[in-house]
Symmetry: C2
Subunit: 572 residues, 2 copies
Amino acid sequence: MNDKSIRLAVAQINPTVGDIRGNLDLIISNMRQAAEAGADLVVFPELALTGYPPEDLVFKSSFVEDNLKALQEAAAASTGITAILGFIDRRDDIFNAAALLHDGEVAGVYHKRFLPDYGVFDESRYFRAGQGELIFSLHGLKLGVTICEDIWYPAEPLLGLAGEGVEMVVNISASPYHLRKAAQREKMLSVRASDYLMSVVYVNMVGGQDELVFDGISMVFDECGNLVDRAAAFTEDLRLVDLDLKGILHQRLRDSRWRKLHLPRLGATDGIIHLGELQTGAKSPEVIRNPEPLLEDMEEIRRALRLGLHDYVRKNGFNTVVIGLSGGIDSALVAVLAAEALGAENVRCVYMPSRFSAEISRQGAADLCVNLGIEMLTLPIDGVMESYLTELAPAFAGLSPNIAEENIQARIRGNLLYALSNKFGWLVLTTGNKSEMSVGYSTLYGDMAGGLAVIKDLPKTMVYSLCRHINREREIIPEMIITRLPSAELRPDQLDTDSLPPYDILDPILEAYIEDELGADEIDFAPHELVSRVIAMVDRNEYKRRQAPPGIKITTRAFGRDRRYPITNHYR
Amino acid sequence: MNDKSIRLAVAQINPTVGDIRGNLDLIISNMRQAAEAGADLVVFPELALTGYPPEDLVFKSSFVEDNLKALQEAAAASTGITAILGFIDRRDDIFNAAALLHDGEVAGVYHKRFLPDYGVFDESRYFRAGQGELIFSLHGLKLGVTICEDIWYPAEPLLGLAGEGVEMVVNISASPYHLRKAAQREKMLSVRASDYLMSVVYVNMVGGQDELVFDGISMVFDECGNLVDRAAAFTEDLRLVDLDLKGILHQRLRDSRWRKLHLPRLGATDGIIHLGELQTGAKSPEVIRNPEPLLEDMEEIRRALRLGLHDYVRKNGFNTVVIGLSGGIDSALVAVLAAEALGAENVRCVYMPSRFSAEISRQGAADLCVNLGIEMLTLPIDGVMESYLTELAPAFAGLSPNIAEENIQARIRGNLLYALSNKFGWLVLTTGNKSEMSVGYSTLYGDMAGGLAVIKDLPKTMVYSLCRHINREREIIPEMIITRLPSAELRPDQLDTDSLPPYDILDPILEAYIEDELGADEIDFAPHELVSRVIAMVDRNEYKRRQAPPGIKITTRAFGRDRRYPITNHYR
């Protein structure tokens, strides 16, 4: 069987952080399916046993211990197949690791060498960087193992693996989604394959975990960098892929760059694990699958939000969500996404008008609910508002209404939604977008009150684009909600533009400042005075964001773990 | 003047994150004072120019640029003196650095070698670890420079410095406070000095920055590990210290351990910066100061909270705070601390009774306000509560009162406090303790609503101890507030013990689980069923803590940046 042909199973699974038993069951079930389909090798994502990121759970010795016991169970279940599985290893230190399981045993272990400490990652907090390689032979093929960040580096560890003659590298990942990242990964992986004339098998996690969505889209490349398979986006997928690499040596020997790059180490075979041949299940006929298509931007975002929302709600034990509808575009979008993620029957919508609410708001909210098949609960807030004003009248005597009165209204709505949440066990979804969150155009404990801020990382202009995308086939979001001028409706005739520049001017400034980390002097496409005012608003409102619910990361720089700013900060 | 005698100035200053201009002024003013007092060398804390921790401000190139310009200004101001100053260096990468300033020039730079990535620290996110040493000679003394974490390691970089014959090591720090850390630092620094027969000059930052308090307590040790000076705790201090190390070589040559440890590198002088002699100001007579005393535990905590509170309020531009008094011990303690930190005239107290509030609560709150000299505003909440219940009556028809009605009350109080905050520009202080925050015995957007959670890291048993300490000399907190049984007063005859074990049983379990990271099976001093129930409460309430205001770190493991748990977490 030394023909360099292999049947791979790429197990793109959705584990849950901390659910070691449930994750193990999922892994064993995928391993069995793969074995039954005649796969020689099945690969699972990074830290598949524990879920990713486990954060400070790693500091619990019982947690690491439980994961090690589960690894032994996974190994015992690997009869008749070879598997690569992400777990936490404990030696003289703690490592982000991959185990090579083979026919009931742990045949080898690899420790991640490059630990990311940027963006949402804190891996140096938890793990020691590994040294060394894990190389094994199977069916006459020489395979190497890497973990996530490792393969983003152009030289080591791939350079070393190539020098050892490795023909196929497996990369197990838990790579969080942001817009267009799949295309970026695909380009990079393809070049890695062709640079090293090495087949690349990339398996990514899928699922939502707090602020992060793992998008899946696992991929297999041949040794020339051609895409052989691409798994589905935003859903579990077990992909079977037949690969034949018998031409690889011929390729390498006629490639002058490859020979110069790797010659020094070529031929060394020290430390390579030779796996015995297994009696695999009867192979079904050759698997011919078309790679799943990449999604266009707006559909990608929609699916990311839907998965992130679904998994946050369900993994935290909720069935039903409740949303305060304002008649505006943000809450309409969140309601649509919730209905898509959870089913309309699990979404409750509440309209809470005040004396400042326009009839068009009620109409928009009501029409949306009709379109979604959701009954709308109406709770007017003027009575409660009156009782607050009466209570505060002595303290406020002689002072004009200002932001204080506006915020009371928003907080009454928050209190009403949480009364429903507490009474019926519904999770509250907030509806604020990234533009608002950036400049603090929102009320802490008011419209910011909720368990999950679904569109927190979507700039307002992106909210519009996504709504138009959703309405492409039929009008789900009433057109008047999209076309009306945005208003918080907290005082008579209020418009967002009373306090903020138009969103098509605001959003590019925010992107330059937040995503690109540019200073006021470097943002030259808008008047300097405006840029400075916007930046000051962003900085001043860090205290609000610190108390905001988690939101789903969509851009390259989301608020939350991804962007760590001091509250007390005099830099301007 | 090669007599190995030196006059040091230890400038324990309180910079503000991002206020590069203000910090520079503070630095220059301390430098001038030191020079006028005849100091040869003045030392400033780690990242004194930018404040610590600057967090993601480091990613702004304009921020790093401004700090480099300020460094040049500081250098220019160093005429007639030598200084060590913490700043951010930019070469081929970004470094946490110390500059050696000498008579108007930057004479050398050191890059921090050990970057902490545990607890509240994320330095690998921002900086590259340095290599190499900074050694300079002054007055015939050989001095080396280290930054904070560097000196917590027993071997390098001190080993290398000793090998070069360094006689005095300067360590510039921004070391955050936790209970009894000063004593731990002092012991370690003393042993470092005696291990290497090297005088240790340790300068720590002082001041509050969001969740952190820097306690100061800078120290100077002679080459035998004897404490020569200790600066004040929790306040700025410019210490002048005269040291004479002419006996150091004699000490070293008769110490067998020292000679064996350092022999290989001894005598190498490569890369040592020889500073010229300066015309220093007329030296006043020898400075003889007694080291400031260490504080006992409760006074230490009181001073830490006072400083953290003061700096959070003032550095964020507030004058006045507002506190909801319940008549219970937590809010009483916060009011006392606020009055100590800001002056009673800058503290507003609001009592917000409901039908469930006992007369003893009103009396306790009122008596406390009399003791503090604060007028108490009373805002009963039953009227507003009625309006909510009326509004919700159709939705809640046929259902019994439960936590929903309890939480509405807490949120009415939050809304009233924020109405006052919004109207008058007062910062709201929350009053929850660590025991409550741990098990979620608090209402999100209710009693958790505020800008700063002053005693968030104090377990309830510590709250009692601190109150008794405060009352030691005279009764500030009315005795009945301390002795009554704790109650949230959200339903008739409610007691904390209805929902929670007594605090003297609860707190040790929480400490074992949170600070010591023990699992349920390892906590054997309480019934297993109780331990499991407590742990489940802690884990389940991570979502509340994620939206809590920042609080002042007092223990070894505070909630916030110090403890990073997933919300979605199935590990039990």
